[in-house]
C-alpha cells in the first residue's frame, strides 16, 4: 500500500517512460487515464479486486452501478452522447456474463466500448474454477475484437489497440479479459504512442472514380432520395449531409439510428422510413429512381425484408465505411467505401443539382398531408401526446434515450430531433432496460443538458435498480415512464396478428413507480390526464435532481402507421385521424 501511494497515478514523467515497476492494475489505470477516459462504469468482484484497489486513489471517476448490465448500458449511453469509447469494468464469471446483453447491444449499433473483465488466475483457467467463465469465447460473435491478456507486459499495447479498434473504422465493442495474476504481476510501464495492426487498416477515403459515378447518377436522377443512417451520426457528418442534400436538392429520410443526423425541422426531411415510418418516406423509397444509402445498412425494419418491393426502380448508391455492408442486403450500383464525413466532403464540391424539383415538391406534399396521427383525448392520457409534450416543453433541446417498443417508436415519430447524438436508442438489438442507464451515462457526459429517459413500464423494471446511482450521484436524469400497464408492442402484435390472444403481456401488477423512486430518494410524480401531465412534468424539469414521472397512458394505443412483417412498404396500415 505504501509503495502504491508513493507513486500517484497522475504523475507522469516527461518521456512517458519509467523504470519503476507497477502492477498490472496500476498499468491499466494509467493507460485509461492516458486515453483520456473521464469516467468508468463498473461493479467489483473477486477477480477485479486488484483493479478496484488501484481505483482506490480516486484518480479516475468510477460509477458503481447496481447491476453490470446497468453499468455497460451507462457506458454505452456515454459513448453515444460523446462519440468517445465508453469503459466498463466487471468481474469474472457472472459479472462478465452480465455484460453480454450490453456488448451485443453496442455491437449491433456500432458503439465504441472497451469492456474490461477480470478472470481467474491463469493456472485456474479451464478448470471450472469459482466464478470462471470463458468470456472471450462467449462474446466472440458480439465483439469487434477481444483480448485475453496473458502477460502483464502486453497490457499497454492491448489497451492502446482496444481503444483504437473500438473507436476507428466502424466502431464497436472490444473486450479485454485480464486474469487476476496479470493484474497482480509487475512490469515497467510505457504507453505506446502509436498503433500498428497489420490486419486492421480501415479505409476512410472514398474512391474518386465512384464519387464521379455518384455525381453522374445524381445528374441523371429525377427522383433521388437519401437514406441516412447511424453512420452519419458516428462520423459527425451532419453539416456535410445538410450541405450535400441542399446542393443536390435531394430529400432525406433518416433511419431510427440516423435520427438527429439530419435536422427534423429541415424542409428536405421526410421522417423515418420502415415498419413505423412516415407515409412520405416509405412512398419515396418505393418510387425513387436513385437511392443514396449513407451509413445505413438496409436492415429488415427498413426494407421489411421484401427487397422485391424495395426501391425496385432505383439505382442504389451505398456509402459505408464497412465494405461488408455493401451488397450484404441490397444490390449496389455504386459502392462507396469510406468514412461518411470524408465521402460527403469529397463529393460535395462538385455535386450537381438533380432535376428533382417536381419530385421534391411531391414528397414534401406527402410529408405535409400524411403526418403521424392519433386520436387525442381530454379524459385519458395519450402516449403520443406525452411525447409531443416532452418535445414542446423542452423546445427539443434535450438528449432523449429509449428502450425498445411502442414508446421508442412514439419518440421516433413525435420528437423531431435537431442535433446528432441527441437521440440515444437501442436500435439493432432492441434491448429493454437500455434507456435509463444509458441516460445516466449521457448525463455524465453532458452535465448541463436536459436528459430524458423515455421508457415503458416493462423496460423500466428491467434496470430500475440504477435509480440508486441516479440518487446517490445526483444525476438529474428525468425519467418519463410511458406506463400503459402492459407490454405494449407485444400486445399490439398479439392484437393484430394473434387475434387478440393476449399472452403474458399484462403488467398491471407493477409496483407504484412513484413509491419505488421515492424509496431510492428520487423525486417522483404520477399523471393521469393532460393537465396533470403538463404540470408535473414541468415540476420534474425544474427539479434539480433526478426525477421520475409515471405517465398513466391509454393502454390500448397502438403504433401507426405499421407495415406488417412479410408485407412491402406499399402496404402501410395507417393510424386513426384526430377528430
Amino acid at each position: 500500500m505504501a509503495q502504491r501511494l508513493a507513486m500517484p497515478v497522475k504523475e507522469k514523467t516527461q518521456t512517458g517512460q519509467s523504470h519503476q515497476e507497477f502492477t498490472g492494475s496500476e498499468i491499466l489505470l494509467r493507460c485509461l487515464i492516458e486515453e483520456g477516459v473521464e469516467v468508468v462504469f463498473g461493479y467489483p468482484g473477486g477477480a477485479v479486486l486488484p483493479i478496484y484497489d488501484s481505483l482506490y486513489h480516486g484518480a479516475l471517476k468510477h460509477l458503481l452501478a447496481r447491476h453490470e448490465q446497468g453499468a455497460i448500458h451507462a457506458a454505452d449511453g456515454y459513448a453515444r452522447a460523446t462519440g468517445k469509447a465508453g469503459v466498463v469494468i466487471a468481474t469474472s464469471g457472472p459479472g462478465a456474463t452480465n455484460l453480454v446483453t450490453g456488448i451485443a447491444n453496442a455491437q449491433m449499433d456500432s458503439i465504441p466500448l472497451v469492456c474490461i473483465t477480470g478472470n481467474v488466475a491463469q493456472h485456474l483457467i479451464g478448470t471450472d474454477a469459482f466464478q470462471e467463465a470463458d468470456i472471450t469465447g462467449i462474446t466472440m460473435p458480439i465483439t469487434k475484437h477481444s483480448y485475453l491478456v496473458t502477460d502483464v507486459k502486453d497490457l499497454p499495447r492491448v489497451v492502446k489497440e482496444s481503444f483504437y479498434i473500438a473507436t476507428s473504422g466502424r466502431p464497436g465493442p472490444v473486450l479485454i479479459d485480464i486474469p487476476k495474476d496479470v493484474s497482480n504481476a509487475r512490469a515497467a510501464y510505457r504507453y505506446p504512442d502509436r498503433v500498428h495492426i497489420r490486419g486492421y487498416q480501415p479505409k476512410t477515403d472514398p474512391h474518386p472514380l465512384q464519387v464521379n459515378r455518384l455525381h453522374q447518377a445524381i445528374r441523371e436522377a429525377e427522383k433521388p432520395l437519401i437514406l441516412a443512417g447511424g453512420g452519419v451520426v458516428t462520423s459527425g457528418a451532419e453539416k456535410e449531409l445538410i450541405a450535400f442534400a441542399e446542393k443536390a436538392h435531394i430529400p432525406v429520410t433518416t433511419t431510427l439510428m440516423g435520427l438527429g443526423g439530419f435536422p427534423g425541422q429541415h424542409p428536405l426531411w421526410l421522417g423515418m422510413p420502415g415498419m413505423h415510418g412516415t407515409y412520405a418516406a416509405n412512398n419515396a423509397l418505393l418510387e425513387c429512381d436513385l437511392l443514396i444509402g449513407i451509413g445505413a445498412r438496409f436492415d429488415d425494419r427498413v426494407t421489411m425484408g421484401r427487397l422485391d418491393k424495395f426501391a425496385t426502380g432505383a439505382k442504389i448508391v451505398h456509402i459505408d465505411i464497412d465494405p461488408a455492408e455493401i451488397g450484404k442486403n441490397v444490390d449496389t450500383y455504386i459502392p462507396l467505401v469510406g468514412d461518411v464525413k470524408q465521402s460527403l466532403s469529397a463529393a460535395l464540391d462538385t455535386v450537381p443539382r438533380a432535376h428533382s424539383d417536381i419530385w421534391v415538391e411531391r414528397v414534401q406534399t406527402w410529408f405535409r398531408e400524411k403526418p403521424f396521427t392519433f386520436r387525442d383525448s381530454d379524459e385519458v392520457l395519450k402516449p403520443q401526446w406525452v411525447i409531443r409534450h416532452l418535445y414542446e416543453s423542452t423546445g427539443g433541446d434535450a438528449v432523449v434515450t429509449t428502450d425498445v417498443g411502442q414508446h421508442q417508436m412514439w419518440v421516433a415519430q413525435y420528437f423531431p430531433f435537431a442535433r446528432p447524438r441527441s437521440f440515444i436508442t437501442s436500435g439493432g438489438l432492441g434491448t429493454m432496460g437500455f434507456g435509463f442507464p444509458a441516460a445516466l451515462g449521457a448525463q455524465l457526459a453532458h452535465p448541463d443538458a436536459t436528459v430524458i429517459s423515455v421508457t415503458g413500464d416493462g423496460g423500466f423494471q428491467m434496470t430500475s435498480q440504477e435509480l440508486a446511482v441516479a440518487s446517490l450521484a445526483n444525476i438529474p436524469v428525468k425519467v418519463a415512464v410511458i406506463n400503459n400497464q402492459c407490454l405494449g408492442m407485444v400486445r399490439q402484435w398479439q392484437e393484430v396478428f394473434y387475434k387478440k390472444r393476449y399472452s403474458e403481456v399484462d403488467l398491471a401488477d407493477s409496483p407504484d413507480f412513484v413509491k419505488l423512486a421515492e424509496s431510492y430518494g428520487v423525486k417522483a410524480w404520477k399523471a393521469e390526464n393532460k393537465e396533470e401531465a403538463a404540470r408535473v412534468w414541468s415540476e420534474a424539469l425544474s427539479h434539480p435532481g433526478p426525477a421520475v414521472v409515471d405517465f398513466r397512458v391509454a393502454p390500448e394505443e397502438n403504433v401507426y402507421p405499421m407495415v406488417a412483417p412479410g408485407s412491402g412498404l406499399d402496404e402501410m396500415i395507417m393510424g386513426e385521424e384526430d377528430e
Binding site: 472471450t136 469465447g137 466472440m140 460473435p141 469487434k144 475484437h145 485475453l148 479498434i165 495492426i197 497489420r198 490486419g199 486492421y200 464497412d322 465494405p323 461488408a324 455493401i326 451488397g327 450484404k328
Partner: protein, 167 residues
C-alpha cells in the same frame, strides 16, 4: 459453386475459433478447414473449402476481412492452384486379401503404411475426388476407420501474382 479460400491469419490463440465462429454465425457453409504454419513466422495459413454463389463468396471474404487477425484472403478459384488432401484409411484385410488391396492402392500412388493381422492402413494424397474414388474401391473390403485432413492448397507458380482480395 465450390471455392477454396487461402487465408493468412495471425498465429494467435483462438484464431481458428474466430474464423469458424464467424462462418457458422453468418450461416456460411464449410466443407473443410485446414490450418498450419505459413512461410512467415507468426502467421498461419488457413485453407477453407466453402460453397456459395458469387454474392455469398463476396460476403464470406468481406466478413473474414473484418476479423482483426485476418491478414490476407485469396480465392484460389481465381488462380490455377494445386489442391491436396491427405487420407488415412484402415481397411479389413487378412493374409488372403492383402495383395489384392495393395494392387488397388498402387495406381493411386498411395502406400500401405501399417499392416495388422486383420487390417491394412493406407495413406493417400491427392485431390478430393481421387481420394473419394479410392475409398469407394476399398469399401468392399470393409472400411474400419477413415481420417482426412481436409484440403490444403497453394496457387501455382505460373499463376499471376495473387492480389489480396480486399484491395
Amino acid at each position: 459453386m465450390r471455392h477454396i479460400l487461402s487465408v493468412l491469419v495471425n498465429d494467435q490463440p483462438r484464431v481458428l475459433a474466430r474464423v469458424a465462429n464467424l462462418l457458422g454465425r453468418r450461416n456460411f457453409n464449410i466443407e473443410s478447414i485446414s490450418v498450419g504454419e505459413s512461410e512467415e513466422p507468426g502467421l498461419s495459413r488457413m485453407v477453407i473449402v466453402t460453397n456459395g454463389d458469387e454474392r455469398t463468396m463476396e460476403q464470406v471474404q468481406k466478413q473474414l476481412h473484418k476479423l482483426i487477425d485476418v491478414i490476407k484472403i485469396q480465392d484460389l478459384n481465381e488462380h490455377s492452384a494445386v489442391e491436396r488432401e491427405l487420407l488415412l484409411i484402415k481397411v479389413g484385410a487378412g493374409p488372403a486379401t492383402r495383395m489384392e488391396v495393395s494392387g488397388i492402392v498402387e495406381p493411386f500412388r498411395a502406400s500401405v503404411v501399417d499392416v495388422g493381422p486383420h487390417s491394412l492402413m493406407v495413406q493417400a494424397t491427392g485431390e478430393r475426388s481421387k481420394l473419394d474414388a479410392l475409398i469407394e474401391l476399398l469399401r468392399p473390403y470393409g472400411i474400419k476407420e477413415v481420417a482426412r485432413t481436409g484440403v490444403t492448397a497453394l496457387p501455382r507458380g505460373t499463376a499471376k501474382t495473387p492480389v489480396p482480395a480486399g484491395s
